[in-house]
């Protein structure tokens, strides 16, 4: 395993890190996209650990910062955020292919907004053969409602017993200066996610979804994914893992390992 700092894109303004496997000439490369404004190391270093794990499996990973985040500089005046993100991802995929001509499969993925950015990019790049999406869009279903009611009852009990204490943001603390409300992330709408998913399946790409308990408010069962996209035949190309006990950003090392294991297993299962 080897970690290499790189800069690419016009004026070398994008910064990333390649995690190379021991074996030369990797066939599979994974590109990880920032989760929100968290730099390329990922929340609690999730992306660092994931990249190293994939390197042990023989895959190459590029984790990089989108323009304006972490060590990458903003650029591409004239493009809205979504298009700039796509352009930055295009530059990243190009950099992978330029440096490692042996790569035949490009997987893109990430957590939260990073998952959705990757998913959108996958639609435009026919060279992308798979997506790994951790806690992306999810849509409530009838089954969700029943399970959520039960979950709330449990939560109340735990709270009454003093075992659970919700983390409540101090309201004024987020007002002055903090962009928490200014930057309120909106998940992808159903028509868009359906369209992309359909397109990916149609061209033979694979998609692996990982949902955590952190998405309780809209996702709470492994089977829910199929219900969300009832009219799309998955054709064995769409898989899902649901880790109900885990939080959205995976605070604990064991949780991050579980996620890395799941992705590693999915990559191996071809």
């Amino acid at each position: 395993m080897n970690e290499l700092a790189c800069q690419f894109g016009e004026h070398r303004r994008l910064a990333g890190i390649f995690t190379e496997p021991q074996a030369p000439e990797p066939r599979t490369a994974c590109v990880l996209v920032n989760a929100g404004l968290v730099p390329k190391l990922g929340p609690f270093r999730l992306y660092v650990e994931l990249a190293r794990r994939l390197a042990r499996d023989g895959a190459l990973t590029l984790r990089f910062d989108l323009g304006g985040i972490g060590d990458s500089q903003p650029g591409l005046p004239g493009l809205p955020l979504r298009e700039r993100t796509a352009a930055d991802l295009r530059a990243a995929a190009a950099e992978v292919r330029r440096r490692y001509p042996s790569v035949q499969e490009v997987i893109v993925g990430g957590l939260c907004s990073g998952a959705e950015d990757a998913f959108r990019y996958a639609e435009e790049d026919p060279g992308v053969t798979g997506v790994v999406l951790i806690d992306p869009f999810s849509y409530r279903t009838a089954g969700w409602q029943w399970r959520y009611t039960a979950y709330r009852a449990v939560r109340r009990t735990l709270r009454a017993a003093g075992l659970y204490e919700p983390i409540v943001a101090a309201p004024a603390a987020t007002v002055d200066g903090a962009p928490r409300r200014v930057v309120s992330y909106k998940y992808m709408e159903h028509p868009e996610s359906s369209r992309i998913l359909r397109a990916l399946i149609a061209r033979g790409a694979r998609a692996h979804f990982i949902y955590t308990g952190g998405q309780q408010s809209s996702f709470n069962h492994k089977g829910q994914l199929a219900r969300m996209f009832e009219d799309i035949p998955f054709e064995g190309r769409v898989t899902v893992d649901y880790f109900a006990h885990m939080d959205h950003t995976q605070l604990l090392d064991a949780d991050r390992q579980t996620v890395a294991d799941a992705i590693s297993a999915w990559l191996a299962d071809r």
Binding site: E3, A5, Q7, E10, H11, A15, L37, V38, P39, L41, P43, F44, R45, G67, G68, I69, G70, D71, Q73, P74, G75, P77, G78, L79, P80, L81, V154, R155, L158, L163, Y164, E165, P166, I167, A169, A170, P171, A172, A173, T174, V175, D176, G177, P179, R180, R181, V182, V183, S184, G213, G214, Q216, H245, M246, D247, T249, L251, L252, D253, A254
Partner: protein, 1106 residues
């Protein structure tokens, strides 16, 4: 259009100082504005004028009977001059007089003149050398016959033979009714003067009375003004506010009293919880006149605290936890509270326990719950103080306004009755609790038996969320500054206004309200009555109210008629009632007039005056009562201004400005900003001022740095709304002939100095979109020049401004920007986005490929450590940044990268790096240790020297990075520390507590199923510490002798850090604190980046300033 803005002030002494009045023009009571297109349309109003027989102005004169006609003429001139003086407030009245066919210009000084003096002056002027006419606008002419030619003035008193008179006037400028009243007043004045001058007049002394004592109003006009300014008398309820709420609790205990987010309290619960608090206060013997400060963030607690304190008969004093520490301390020092009611985290963060005994509503919840929950039933004397609100003060400290329980009853009941507020009402609390209008929102719904909805500040400031809330309420009140960014959003996003059909009352107040805002309220809230509410803390807010007509266009700043039981008067400086349509100072009397100011007897005596047996409050607002009986406000008469709806005493701002580093003298003025809105400008003279007075503010970089330091000082000491938006350095302050500061001679702001901090080279906008976007930035930020490479946040914007920017971009450019873009991108990038989103051709991007905005950046690994070098390649001086560890590194990264870019842009290379096992560096945290990280610091320093050749290294350490930096034994010319961790053991303990708290917050998911612990290690917030690393870490302490000059920035526990800084800073060192809560211990914000660029600016200054 009848805009009627011609009349100025009727309060001579108070206003003339700050009005630019041309001494050779009379400010006449115009009804219509003069424009270049105004025609001359002469009309005459003939009226009988009884000219009294006179004895003589001087004793000599009485002996010269032949001069009787001259004396009579002098008397008329004097009366006319007095009349114009009383209308205009001008100290000197210029008049053109035509007598015996000869026209001459007179100038009569009236300030402080007695009737005898004025008459003598008029007589002397008429008999003296002829001066050419002034063409001043007002004239008197003695004519042989009625003439039909236009007069030479806008307003001329014509005296015809046989005692007939007329006023000839330009009907394009005056209404006939105005002229009729003027003629009537002239008659009243002449009669009064005549009575004083009559040979039989017994009271000869009256001739020596000041002219201001003469009556001006006819009895009928005075009676009308008296009646119109007096609200209906009515009996106020006997029940105090908390007693009314107790009655609701008894009658409808299950009805929802207060809601906050998804939590609610019924009247029964609210009453019980408030009773428990009241019992807790009683147990501490805190009753009548006991001062209880309430320092809470928006939550259910506010209702409990307010009600509990009133039940105990104590004094409620709200304190805004977001105020800077300096202001909090000042208010606590001034109040000397007997108790502070707050929450644990605020008590700790604001060090409240240092000021007074504290009661933590959260930590002591169990103890409170164990107290009796029955009503105390105390008999409370209505004259006792119920609450104290603080407003900006003139002498540099805020002033506390004391209101009684009776005032509170009046406040709430007048509003409740006037607006027919009942138990069906759902009312949101939009104002900050520290502003007195919040009492309207908090107490009125509860007294009426309705529902109070408490909102977070972020909720209020976010138009989308506030709009959703307004669709669910029945009544709301919001200041014009909030409406200015809320209403455009609603108009753009809610084409269907039916969602607001439940709102039956919408009101605004607290500042001059632009008529277009009222029109927008009418358009949006189609089912609502729209009101303007006018008042202030000193009169319990409910002064006058104006029901905005639905069917008529509004073009004046009307504030309506008084509430019941309120009396309003428009008076001149001598306490005379101003005529209809003439401007004077607005005074209020009534049951809401508060007790006065806390421990400020002189100020209380100055502002609360006895007039005609009633106690009046002088508001300092200038206004007039029109023919329609509506009160209209026109501005302020002193140095109190309003910016964004906040009342600001310039004196308080100046007091703090004069205490800024290096400042010898300073004044503050409100000036129009680049976008036309008022901004505050601070003018400073430094102690060693040697600048060129002819070129003020042409800042050198030294000047820029000094002004930046002044701004930081202001940010540290005043709430954000009181911090001037722009600063100018002057060699000296301009003075007038009385050697007082001549505020009108202060130059308009030049902003160049501001810019030096952000970027040395500003690329000007090029495309149309860039220019329009730059104009919006400049307007919002109050700066003259936004450059293509500027980032909105880096220029000092906050989230409110960011949201305003987004709303304006949507309106003016037709694009919906993403907050992420505003946060992250430069002006050039955002302008490009706007073009693209509008579908406009993006010619620029094609013409010029995007150049990287900042200095060069190089990323690399050295010895397994990840490094980023900004700038370079070679420089004599370079900066090493030692980041925090773990999640604190992620949180600080946004700021530190900006610090690095700003420094590199100034030619100083900066190395950022990650420690082994953390960030992007090699290894895992379990294999790392503080000893290893200290070696990393040394390795990074060596790498920086190797890459840049710098001979001087300045090191910046943050949190535990500061601890590592000061213990790594490296050589540095200066150490800059931001919130350093002083004791490793303390910090480790905090991290462990946070980690546990975090896990407790996940128990709804985990339900006790936690992964096995890693043997021999402890995992805290994403970092795994081996046992030996933990022991090392806990032993680390910042050494008592700093190895290099030390600069210390505290954004966290400033008082504690300052004490530590003093221990360490051998040979001085510099300590600064910023009132910014970075939330280092706030688990709810643990995953957020810290975007506050005030910190970045402060760090850059600490690194660069000599």
């Amino acid at each position: 259009m009848d805009v009627g803005d011609g009349i100025v002030s009727g309060a001579p002494g108070a206003t003339s100082a700050h009005r630019a009045v041309d001494a050779h023009t009379v400010q006449l009571p115009w009804d219509f504005t003069r424009t270049p297109a105004t025609l001359v349309a002469t009309e005459r109003y003939p009226f009988p004028l009884t000219i009294p027989r006179v004895e003589g102005a001087s004793r000599e004169a009485t002996r010269e009977a032949t001069r009787e006609a001259a004396r009579e003429a002098a008397l008329i001139v004097a009366a006319f001059a007095i009349c114009l003086h009383r209308y205009s407030g001008q100290a000197q009245i210029p008049l053109d007089v035509t007598r015996r066919g000869q026209a001459r210009g007179l100038e009569l000084p009236l300030a402080g003149a007695t009737c005898r003096e004025l008459w003598a002056r008029a007589e002397a002027a008429l008999g003296g050398d002829a001066r050419p006419p002034h063409r001043a606008g007002a004239a008197i002419a003695w004519l042989d016959r009625e003439r039909d030619t236009p007069p030479a003035a806008d307003l001329e008193l014509e005296l015809w033979p046989e005692g007939r008179a007329a006023i000839a006037y330009n009907a394009s400028l005056f209404k006939r009714s105005t002229i009729e009243r003027l003629a009537g007043r002239l008659g009243v004045l002449l009669e009064a003067l005549g009575a004083r001058l009559h040979p039989d007049a017994s009271a000869g002394d009256e001739l020596d009375e000041p002219v201001t004592r003469l009556p001006l109003l006819a009895a009928s006009e005075a009676a009308w003004l008296d009646a119109i300014g007096r609200g209906r008398r009515r009996e106020l309820p006997a029940a105090l506010v908390h007693q009314a709420i107790e009655q609701h609790a008894a009658r409808a205990p299950d009805k929802t009293a207060v809601r906050y987010r998804d939590r609610a309290l019924s009247y029964g619960e609210l009453n019980r919880r408030a009773n428990q608090l009241a019992h807790a206060l009683a147990a501490r013997r805190l009753g009548a006149e006991a001062r209880v400060v309430v320092c809470v963030e928006p939550s259910l607690d506010i209702a409990i605290a307010l009600l509990g304190i009133f039940k105990a008969g104590a004094i409620y004093i709200p304190l805004d936890p977001t105020y800077p520490a300096g202001r909090i301390r000042t208010i606590l020092d001034d109040t000397r509270p007997h108790l502070i009611v707050s929450n644990g985290y605020l008590i700790e963060r604001l060090a409240l326990a240092d000021a007074a005994p504290v009661l933590a509503l959260d930590a002591e919840a169990a103890a409170l719950a164990a107290l009796p929950d029955a009503d105390l039933g105390l008999a409370i004397e209505p004259a006792r103080t119920a609450y104290i609100y603080y407003t900006s003060g003139t002498t540099g400290r805020p002033k506390g306004i004391l209101a009684s329980y009776a005032n509170l009853v009046a406040y709430v009941d007048l509003a409740r009755d006037r607006y027919a507020i009942d138990e069906r009402e759902v009312i949101p609390a939009i104002a900050r609790f520290s502003f007195s209008i919040s009492m309207f929102e908090l107490a009125t719904p509860l007294v009426a038996g309705g529902t109070l909805v408490v909102l977070d500040r972020s909720h209020v400031l976010e138009p989308a969320r506030l709009a959703e809330t307004l669709a669910q309420v029945t009544l709301f009140h919001a200041g014009p500054s909030l409406l200015k960014h809320l209403l455009p959003y609603i108009e753009a996003h809610y084409p269907d206004r039916a969602v607001f059909a439940g709102v039956r009352h919408a009101s605004s107040g607290g500042d001059m309200i632009p008529p277009e805002l009222l029109e927008a309220l009418k358009r949006i809230f189609t089912a609502a009555e729209v009101f303007v509410i006018y008042g202030c803390s000193e009169i319990s807010c409910m002064g006058c109210t104006y029901p905005v007509p639905r069917d008529a266009k509004i073009d004046k700043t009307y504030v309506g008629r008084p509430f019941d039981d309120v009396t309003v008067r428009v008076l001149d400086a001598a306490g005379n009632m101003m005529p209809i349509g003439a401007v004077g100072e607005i005074h209020f009397a009534g049951a809401g007039i508060v007790k006065g100011y806390l421990e400020r007897p002189e100020l209380t005596a100055e502002k609360f005056v006895e007039l005609g047996g009633e106690r009046f409050y002088r508001t300092g607002d200038m206004g007039r009562i029109g023919e329609d009986g509506w009160l209209e406000i026109l501005g302020r008469n002193d140095f109190q201004i309003k910016i964004r709806g906040m009342r600001i005493e310039l004196g308080e701002v100046e007091y703090n400005l004069r205490r800024a580093p290096g400042v010898r003298d300073a004044v503050v003025m409100a000036k129009p900003g680049p976008g036309g809105d008022k901004i505050m400008v601070g003018y400073v003279v430094f102690g060693d001022a040697a600048g060129d007075p002819g070129a003020p503010g042409t800042g050198t970089s030294t000047s820029a740095a000094r002004l930046a330091a002044v701004r930081r000082h202001m940010v540290d000491h005043l709430p954000d709304y009181m911090v001037p938006a722009a600063y100018m350095e002057l060699a000296s302050l301009p003075v007038n002939h009385n050697l007082k500061v001549d505020r009108h001679a202060l130059p308009d702001p030049v902003f160049a100095a501001e810019r030096a901090v952000a970027a040395p080279h500003v690329r000007a906008p090029e495309t149309d979109t860039e220019r329009r976007l730059a104009a919006i930035w400049q307007d919002l930020l109050g700066m003259p020049r936004a450059g293509l490479d500027d980032n909105f946040f880096e220029l000092g914007a906050d989230s409110l401004l960011a949201m305003k920017l987004m709303v304006r971009a949507e309106h003016e450019l037709g694009v919906a920007l993403e907050g992420m873009d505003v946060l992250r991108e430069s002006l050039e990038v955002i302008a490009g986005i706007c073009d693209r989103l509008r579908g406009a051709p993006v010619a620029k991007a094609a013409a010029r490929p995007a150049a990287p905005a900042g200095p060069a950046v190089e990323t690399f690994y050295f010895g397994g450590l990840y490094g980023v070098l900004h700038g370079g390649p070679s420089a004599p001086e370079a900066v090493l940044i030692c980041p925090p560890i773990g999640q604190e590194q992620v949180r600080a990264q946004f700021i530190l990268t900006r610090v690095a870019r700003q420094l590199a842009a100034r030619g100083t290379p900066v190395l950022q790096f990650d420690y082994y096992g953390l960030g992007d560096s090699a290894g895992d945290s379990i294999d790392a240790s503080p000893a290893r990280w200290q070696r990393d610091v040394a390795a990074a320093r060596a790498e920086l020297v190797r890459r840049t050749g710098a001979g001087t290294i300045i090191a910046l350490g943050v949190r535990f990075g500061a601890t590592l930096l000061t213990t790594a034994g490296i050589e540095a010319a200066r150490l800059v520390l931001w919130d350093p961790v002083y004791l490793g053991a303390d910090w480790y303990g905090e991290q462990a507590a946070l980690h546990q708290r975090y896990l407790r917050g996940q128990q709804d998911l985990r339900r006790g199923r936690l992964p096995a612990r890693i043997p021999g290690a402890e995992e805290l917030l994403g970092v795994t510490y081996a046992e030996h690393a933990r022991r090392e870490l806990e032993r680390l302490v910042i050494p008592r002798t700093a190895a290099a000059p030390l600069r210390w920035l505290a954004t966290f526990e400033p008082a504690r850090q300052e004490a530590r800084h003093r221990e360490l800073a051998v040979g001085g060192g510099r300590f600064e604190s910023l009132e910014i809560d970075c939330g280092w211990r706030d688990i709810a914000r643990f995953e957020d980046i810290i975007p506050d660029l005030h910190v970045a600016r402060a760090l850059v200054a600490m690194v660069t300033e000599p």
